[in-house]
């Protein structure tokens, strides 16, 4: 896969000499803004179908949905830029939130308000789980696909164990505010997502760590020979995505007023799809938070809009699947003929 990718990029670099200038600038433009334009078109289409689509209430709904997996997608962007992947984010979310709910509801542990205990527990558990994934991947030198595939069932099973598969429900007002409250009219999960995305963007764009993850994804051997501690950086990206999965778990349990062992099922697919639609390559070295946000919004808008149109839920899955493939196919095409 690496060799093929390199071949492709080599071809891409030869191409501009052979092509006229007018040919590639359009492709370049669409490659850069295509997903965003598509998002706008989809919104316009749904609005034409049903004016309620753009009602404040519905927008808040869409954004809240998007925010919960969007938080994870920010972390997943880092993972995918290093040429890794984390299939266990949904299971991590469930395990972290079940553990946090058990801690405050069943074990009765509390320092400060229950929401603080739950938030810290959820985030800490997520980070520890991510650290384990990272260590297992780098220490045993096993592909992250495998370690996190294992993690996916391990943490799902572990979250079932916590309350015998049943949910833990009924939290106090303070905790529920994190899922249902609003700040200046903006739902709290959306505020959290904006903050996380902004932090993610700063890390990606302005820090050494950001440079290092691109370097590792671009050429891991060159990264090692420039003195990067590749294993440490890789471990930390899994820790970050784990931590953010824990945070998403906390938001979700606050929103539903219930922690569930089956929460976040198939989230890994939605999260990876957001990142990939946003322009990242599973081969690593390419991608960014900005694109990921657009990708996450696109998926959120599609799911919501199709429901409002009364489209059968099964068709929704088909539509989203087709869009993932088309987005990546277009990206590949643009890389070959653009630039």
């Amino acid at each position: 896969m690496d060799a093929a990718g390199e071949q492709r990029s080599a071809e891409a670099q030869l191409e501009p000499d052979r092509k006229g200038k007018s040919g590639w600038s359009a492709i370049e433009f669409f490659n850069r803004y295509g997903t965003g334009i598509f998002l706008v078109l989809v919104c316009a289409f749904f609005m034409a179908q049903n004016p309620n689509f753009l009602s404040l209430r519905n927008i808040a709904n869409i954004l809240t949905d998007v925010s919960i997996y969007g938080v994870i997608a920010v972390g997943m962007t880092f993972v995918i830029i290093t040429a890794g992947v984390d299939l266990a984010v949904g299971a991590t979310l469930a395990f972290a939130s079940m553990f946090a709910a058990w801690l405050i509801s069943k074990a009765g542990v509390s320092f400060g308000p229950p929401w603080l205990t739950a938030l810290l527990a959820s985030v800490a558990v997520g980070a520890i789980v991510g650290y384990i994934h990272g260590k297992a991947t780098t220490f045993f030198n096993v592909p992250a696909f495998i370690t996190t595939l294992g993690g996916m069932t391990i943490w799902r099973g572990a979250s079932m164990l916590i309350n015998d598969g049943g949910p833990i429900s009924g939290f106090d007002e303070g905790l529920r505010w994190w899922g249902t409250g609003a700040i200046l009219g903006v739902p709290v999960p959306v505020v959290v997502f904006v903050l996380v995305a902004a932090a993610g963007y700063i890390v990606q764009r302005y820090t050494r760590f950001g440079r290092q993850i691109y370097a590792i994804g671009g050429n891991v051997e060159a990264a090692r020979l420039t003195g990067l501690n590749v294993k440490a950086v890789e471990t930390s990206v899994y820790m970050i995505v784990g931590l953010l999965s824990g945070l998403a778990g906390f938001l979700l349990m606050a929103r539903l007023n219930s922690a569930e062992a089956v929460a976040g099922l198939n989230y890994e697919l939605r999260v990876i799809a957001s990142v990939v639609i946003g322009g990242a390559s599973l081969a690593g070295g390419v991608g960014g938070i900005g694109g990921t946000i657009i990708g996450a919004l696109l998926i959120g808008v599609l799911s919501n809009g199709l429901v409002m149109m009364g489209v059968n839920a099964y068709y929704q899955q088909i539509v989203i699947g087709v869009i993932i493939v088309l987005a990546v196919a277009f990206d590949t095409y643009a890389k070959k003929h653009g630039r």
Binding site: E6, S9, A10, Q13, L14, Y206, T207, R208, F209, R211, Q212, Y214, A215, G218, N219, E221, A222, A223, R224, L225, T226, G227, L228, N229, G285, V286
Partner: protein
Amino acid sequence: MLLEARNIQKSFPGVKALDGVNLNVRSGEVHALLGENGAGKSTLLKILAGAQAADGGDLMLEGAVLDPADSPLQRQEAGVVTIYQEFNLLPEMSVAENMFLGREPTRHGLINWREMYQRAQAILDDLGLKLDPRKPVRSLSVAEQQMVEIAKAMTFEARLIIMDEPTAALSDREVDVLYRIVRNLRARGVSIIYVTHRLVEVIELCDRFTVLRDGQFVAEGDVAGKEVADLVRMMVGRDVEFVRCTASGQRGDLVLRVENVSRDGTATDPHATVLRNMTVEVYAGEVLGFAGLVGAGRTELARIIFGADRSDEGVIWLGGGRMQLLRSPSEGIDNGIALVPEDRKQQGCFLDQSISQNMTLPSLKNLARWGIFVNETAERELVEKYRKALRIKMPSHSTPIGKLSGGNQQKVLLARCMALSPKVLIVDEPTRGIDIGAKAEVHQVLTDMAKSGVAVIVISSELPEIMAVSDRIAVFREGSITGLVSGDSADEETLMRLMAVGENADLTAAA
């Protein structure tokens, strides 16, 4: 003439891999294709095999022009079969299945197993190979798998078999068997293109040879009457001489000494070079050249010094005192050692990423506020400083490095190391695949570094390059250092003798 390749051209971004290469292979001969790493052998092989298309030039097989756009399968069907160093066999399938893969004899649309085994057996017998066609390939030794590849070639009625480093993973006894098979094929009129860096094999087995150097055709001729030293001269000598520009004896303190580095890597990797008791000293302000053929241990020792690879034994003495060998490149950098690796594309560059990212990555520590946030103003200044100092031609700092020429890419990588202010700078093949003007500029940079007090180690397969820049030259042969020669008094003959034959002559005057 069986195969004629005329004036073959092939470029990759930043590298001219082949520039006007000719290759003439007669019917029923074993033809050695020689050249150091990066000379263009692999690219030429890929073009012959149909894995890549040449940018220009003609390929003719028995007088008929071959279409450059042929697929590997079309080339095989035309009778040109390539056996790569990494075999193309399916381990779970039988010998016969591998031989006829995709072309199984059929009856009524189903595989005719009996005919397949019979035909496989007939070919194996014909070649004098004692192999059971029903055996799964996974149960065979490396040498036996190679025989399967040869037998597979014969199912195509190959007229030309290309063998890429066929003896690299074979024991001496297995090499003898391979020789016998190759001679058998030759007797039946099959031609072989034989690629190897073991020059003794060329003398023993081959009829004629072609030498490539730096993507260009150097020579062809009969092997009879030639010695290993003659071949070495053609591979590493050069018609164009470089102006000698050394740091001129401003030698300072001893900066680095490695002692008794030994490694027996063969247990884990059959291609690994065994290193024996290597000891080297480098002083501030000098350029120390590492001369030797590929596989002699130059790159291996350099990587061990830098911390990129491990060795079984050895200690390092770095300024302050003796210590264990370094365990990672980051330790190397922390201890003031910098390395510009051998393979720009695979080990050096982040091809799709910007020039600034490529140049500043390891020195961001010093360019970051609180060690975290990159100070982009300082970064721009640093890139600008080296752009001017090394005269790097770049459209902008954000241009992907993959779009630069090879010479400019190499300057960016040199700048990356210089920005670390190293005490020891190791440059492996500083000018491979870059044009002659840029080569002289790179040489100037290296000697300037030495003048400023850095200990510079230069590894090169081109003797004139080593002779042009080095104050002292360490000569490597088969995992040992066979001599230490002063750069001023070195001549090609002496160096080549040490590289090829390795007499431990009294040439240590410079030490």
